[in-house]
């Protein structure tokens, strides 16, 4: 699990957000499975060489987003109940954040809504060719 | 808390020990190489008998030598013609005792005594002549106070080396020294206490080494008098005072304190010299003398007189020193005042 996580402390994105994003992504991709134990706060802080309170903050938010659950004295685990749905939710979160960032950039260079739609259609066609076959 | 100071003192005492051991080694070398001679009874007999008589004495004497059960070599010399009978008991390492009986001593002699180094001679008029008794070497008790003079000198040197404990910390170590769980005053006092202990140890080491050195030549036979206690006290207090003065002079310094330690001796000796010298009777000379005398009063070394013991020094000087307890009191006050000044300054030092 720790091998999956990497943070870039020098980026402008807060470290706790980077951890959240990566845990969610791992859950969405099934790298982290339901019931799997996460490293302790201290362990992850040492592995990533980042502040333990920052890691604790990421864990708290992941818990609030129902991605993980923490049993006092036992540690933090990927939520077992309906892992499929939480994986889907996690995937959505990751996708939404990425899209938001892209759209913000798109907007800044002055593209209109229709221009954007064309671009998105083209991009979707390129990235999802098999789905295109099934369209009427 | 004073571990560092102990290390410093230990280093200093190590060198003191090395120097003293070297001195003793030198004494040993000398003892067994060049000077394998015992003090000379015959030589001193000469003083009593006179050179002319001696030759005559030797010509007509009969000499017998016996070994006493306790190992003493007894030599008896008899000269009936001159009416002289000499007994020499040579105890070797334990000393020598000589008795000279003269039936007809020279007319002008009377009972007297002579002391010279470790030789003690005494003439008494006895019925039928005069008896000269001479004790030599270990048989003559020696005043241990003289050793305290040398020890005081060693203590002063060690006091100079240890003289800037606070400045040594100021020189880039306050971040370590002053972030320990101890109040600064306590740290300062403990540091001073350690250094003073070092001075006492150096003093004691010197006395011990002198005794050892002496013991190489002859059996120890010391007397300890009230004056010796005074000599020890004055020597140690002078060293404490000197140490405290140097500490007070350097307590606020962060560097170049070594220079202060270095010039302290020349200055003290120089000022002391000027204050005692006769500079003439011009106004300038008087002014210089007055200033030097005033400054000299600030140096603890100015009060470290041992004249009460040695009997040396001018008559007026001796009178001034009739009460060495005054010196003792002044030295104690100086040590305390300088010590307090040093501690006070160190309270205010900033890293």
């Amino acid at each position: 699990m720790p091998a999956v996580l990497t943070v870039d402390p020098r980026s402008g994105v807060p470290i706790y957000l980077q951890i959240i994003e990566q845990v969610k992504r791992s859950v969405a991709l099934g790298i982290l499975e339901a019931g799997e134990q996460l490293p302790t706060v201290k362990q992850l802080a040492l592995d990533l060489t980042v502040n333990p309170n920052t890691v604790a903050r990421a864990y708290r938010e992941l818990e609030r987003d129902s991605v993980i659950e923490t049993a006092p004295g036992r540690g933090s685990f990927v939520r077992g109940n309906g892992v499929a749905s939480s994986a889907k939710a996690a995937a959505n979160d990751v996708a939404r954040d990425t899209l938001d960032a892209a759209l913000r950039e798109v907007k800044s260079v002055g593209l209109s809504r229709s221009d954007l739609r064309e671009l998105i259609d083209a991009a979707v066609d390129r990235w999802f060719p098999e789905d295109q076959q099934q369209l009427p | 808390m004073t571990y560092i100071e102990w290390l410093r003192v230990r280093g200093c005492l190590k060198w003191t020990g090395i120097v003293l051991v070297a001195c003793v080694a030198l004494v040993l070398f000398t003892r067994f190489t060049f000077l394998d001679i015992r003090p000379h009874a015959a030589g001193f007999s000469q003083i009593y008998l006179g050179g002319k008589n001696l030759a005559q004495f030797e010509r007509n004497s009969s000499e017998t030598q016996t070994k006493l059960p306790d190992g003493t070599t007894r030599t008896t010399i008899d000269n009936p013609a001159m009416g002289v009978h000499v007994t020499i008991d040579d105890h070797g390492y334990w000393g020598k005792h000589v008795e000279i009986f003269q039936k007809t001593p020279p007319k002008d002699v009377h009972a007297n005594r002579i002391d010279f180094g470790d030789i003690h001679g005494e003439r008494t008029m006895v019925p039928g002549g005069s008896l000269i008794k001479i004790d030599e070497g270990a048989l003559v008790p020696e005043d241990i106070g003289y050793y305290f003079l040398f020890a005081a000198l060693a203590a002063l040197i060690v006091a100079t080396i240890l003289g800037a404990p606070f400045a040594r910390e100021n020189e880039g170590h306050l971040e370590l020294a002053l972030t320990k769980p101890i109040a600064r005053v306590n740290l300062a006092l403990q540091t001073v206490a350690v250094d003073c202990a070092g001075i006492v140890i150096a003093w004691a080491m010197t006395v011990v080494f002198l005794i050892v050195g002496h013991t190489i030549f002859e059996a120890p036979n010391y007397v300890f008098t009230a004056g010796d206690t005074l000599a020890a006290a004055i020597g140690l207090l002078a060293a404490f005072g000197w140490y405290a003065m140097l500490n007070a002079a350097t307590a606020s310094m962060k560097r170049s304190y070594g220079g202060v330690l270095g010039v302290a001796w020349p200055i003290a000796l120089g000022i002391g010299g000027i204050s005692h010298a006769r500079l003439g009777d011009t106004p300038l000379a008087n002014a210089i003398h007055a200033v030097a005398s005033a400054i000299a009063r600030l140096f603890p070394t100015s009060y470290a007189h041992f004249t009460f013991m040695t009997g040396m020094g001018s008559e007026e000087h001796r009178q001034a020193l009739a009460a060495p307890q005054n010196d003792l009191a002044i030295l104690a006050v100086l040590a305390l005042v300088y010590g307090a000044l040093a501690v006070y300054q160190w309270q205010r030092v900033e890293a």
Partner: protein, 290 residues
């Protein structure tokens, strides 16, 4: 567990104010990074905190109590420059700490020194600058102190040992230790510190949580129709901390709500408006160039 409160600290040398009305609160169990250019007053602040320098005004409280000698039992301090005794070997420095501090763990010191590859028999004068730093760090981290005050604890160290020191800081932080440290290596502060303060010319110019500062502080950039085109009052917006204009380009340093400010800038007539993330180094440089 210890909270440190610094209030209105002031320290002058002659007419120069090295620390000028500095107030900081370092919450218990926090890793707190103190940033500032050279001569900003970081070291002087530490010295005042430890009574190594006497403040002209202000107070420093540890758990609401002023510093007393016993407090030093709980504080381990690594000064900026080597304060080791040149004539003493490393083992003697360890011994000195063992005698002075009841909670000092000599075995731990030995482990840490070994990890830094330091031969305890060496005299301090034989050690390089980085090794001296390592000795001081190793000894400080063997103190089991509640509070660590580290002034440039990685200076002179190679990258491997720098990372090692960082791990030690994180380890102590996980133990609940309160850590105040300064470093010119902002990347280290960025990793290890939860909160930071930036001082400049003795004054506090910025304080906050690293992640919050990164989340809130952004650059909003846009292109105006011409160089003198009015900004429609955006420069006066309390969220805008600073406005730079170069020809037609407007660059706003924003303290919060970057997206809203971006929208306002677009509304004011700017084109190509975008929001740029700032890392700690950017945030620091903006703070000290104000």
């Amino acid at each position: 567990m210890s909270t440190i409160q610094i209030s209105h600290l002031r320290k002058t040398y002659g007419t120069f104010a090295a620390v000028d009305d500095l107030s900081l609160e370092i919450p218990s169990g926090t890793v707190f990074g103190l940033l500032g250019p050279n001569g900003a007053g970081k070291t002087t602040t530490f010295k005042c905190m430890l009574d190594l320098a006497r403040a002209n005004a202000g107070t420093v409280l540890y758990d609401e109590k002023p510093l007393v000698p016993e407090t030093f039992e709980r504080i381990a301090y690594v000064p900026e420059r080597s304060v080791l005794y040149e004539w003493m070997n490393v083992a003697e420095h360890v011994e000195m700490n063992r005698r002075a501090f009841t909670k000092f763990d000599p075995a731990r010191a030995g482990e840490l020194l070994t990890a830094f590859n330091i031969d305890q028999r060496k005299k301090a004068r034989e050690l390089s600058k980085g090794m001296r730093t390592a000795v001081m760090v190793a000894i400080a981290f063997a103190r089991n102190a509640d509070i660590l005050i580290l002034d440039e604890p990685t200076s002179g160290l190679d990258p491997v040992n720098q990372r090692h020191v960082l791990s030690l800081i994180i380890n102590e932080a996980a133990r609940g230790c309160t850590i105040l440290f300064s470093s010119h290596q902002i990347g280290q502060v960025e990793r290890a510190a939860e909160q930071i303060a930036v001082v400049d010319k003795g004054r506090l110019v910025l304080q906050g949580t690293v992640d919050d500062l990164k989340a809130d502080r952004k650059i909003v950039e846009g292109i105006m129709p011409d160089a003198n085109y009015p900004l429609n009052g955006i420069a006066g917006d309390p969220r805008v901390l600073r406005t730079d204009r170069t020809e037609r380009i407007v660059r706003l340093l924003v303290g919060s709500d970057a997206d809203a400010v971006a929208a306002a800038l677009t509304a004011a007539g700017a084109s190509g408006v975008r929001v740029v993330d700032l890392n700690l180094e950017d945030i620091f440089l903006y703070a000290v160039s104000q």
